[in-house]
């Protein structure tokens, strides 16, 4: 996770309490289901989609482009992370 953030275009969502919970969910899914399926998606549906919903998931690029952060609130654009984390939606991030 750390290396993905350090080497990639994104930052972590700027609230440690939030990202910690997502990471716990990822670890739980790894332990229970064998892969780090996104905790914000139904695991059985994710399994049916192959690798698409394994973190970092396929949709996270579009999510971040649209609203500044991925649907699990784990990764965020560097702009979003640098600004206020109180932004409730895409209207405020544009």
């Amino acid at each position: 996770m750390r290396s993905y953030v350090e080497r990639g275009p994104y930052a972590l969502y700027p609230e440690p309490e939030v990202t910690e919970n997502v990471i716990v969910g990822l670890v739980h899914n790894l332990a229970e289901h064998g892969k780090m399926y996104c905790p914000c998606a139904d695991v059985e549906s994710s399994k049916a989609r192959g690798h698409e919903m394994v973190c970092p998931c396929t949709p996270h690029h579009d999510d971040i482009k649209r609203q500044g952060y991925c649907d699990c609130a784990l990764f965020a654009s560097r702009e979003f992370a640098a600004g206020s984390c109180d932004k409730p939606g895409p209207d405020e991030t544009e």
Binding site: V22, C40, R66, G89
Partner: protein, 174 residues
């Protein structure tokens, strides 16, 4: 929104076929708004606790309302018809309303599902945040934040912890 801010006005259709407004809850000591949805695993994990809390506090004049504002175009499971089925299936004892414009949920400043906003009799915000600290296993909850807030407010006291960080799925904005 910040603590002590007034509840934003709303006029939202529910799965019960009624339109719900702030006035619909007149006379209730507390109004607990839970930003929710159909498909989020965090919400699914909490639904039983939401129902239990609503039933437990109903006789104390606490009203619950769940509101789903997720973009139903991208997430059809969050449209009114599946919401109606969910409310019936889970036996929600509270209105489950649809905020299609997302205006109410934006005014709340909500970001996640589930995310809780408790308003007092004057409809000022008195608790905001999570339901508790463990969505996966109710037996391992160590901090019943919403329960504690409702109990304190019901006793005429301020919640010891009026704000917690909500966690869950992000709201699916349009």
């Amino acid at each position: 929104m910040k603590l002590n801010d007034a509840c934003p006005a709303f006029e939202l259709p529910g799965t019960d076929g009624k339109i719900h407004t702030l006035a619909s809850f007149d006379g209730k000591k507390l109004l607990c708004v839970i930003v929710s949805c159909n498909h989020c695993p965090y919400v699914v994990a909490y639904e039983e606790r939401m129902v239990a809390l609503a039933k437990a506090h109903a006789e104390n004049g606490v009203a619950f309302m769940a509101v789903n504002a997720n973009d139903a175009t991208r997430y059809p499971d969050d449209a009114m018809e599946p919401m109606t089925a969910r409310a019936k299936d889970r036996g929600f004892p509270f209105p489950y309303v649809r905020d299609d414009s997302q205006a109410f949920v934006r005014a709340l400043g909500a970001r996640f599902t589930p995310e809780v906003f408790v308003f007092d009799a004057g409809r000022k915000l008195r608790y905001h945040g999570r339901i508790d600290d463990n969505h996966r296993d109710p037996a391992r909850v160590t901090s019943k934040d919403l329960e504690n807030a409702l109990s304190a407010l019901g006793a005429g006291e301020a919640p010891a912890t009026p704000e917690t960080v909500a966690f869950g799925c992000s709201i699916k904005w349009k």
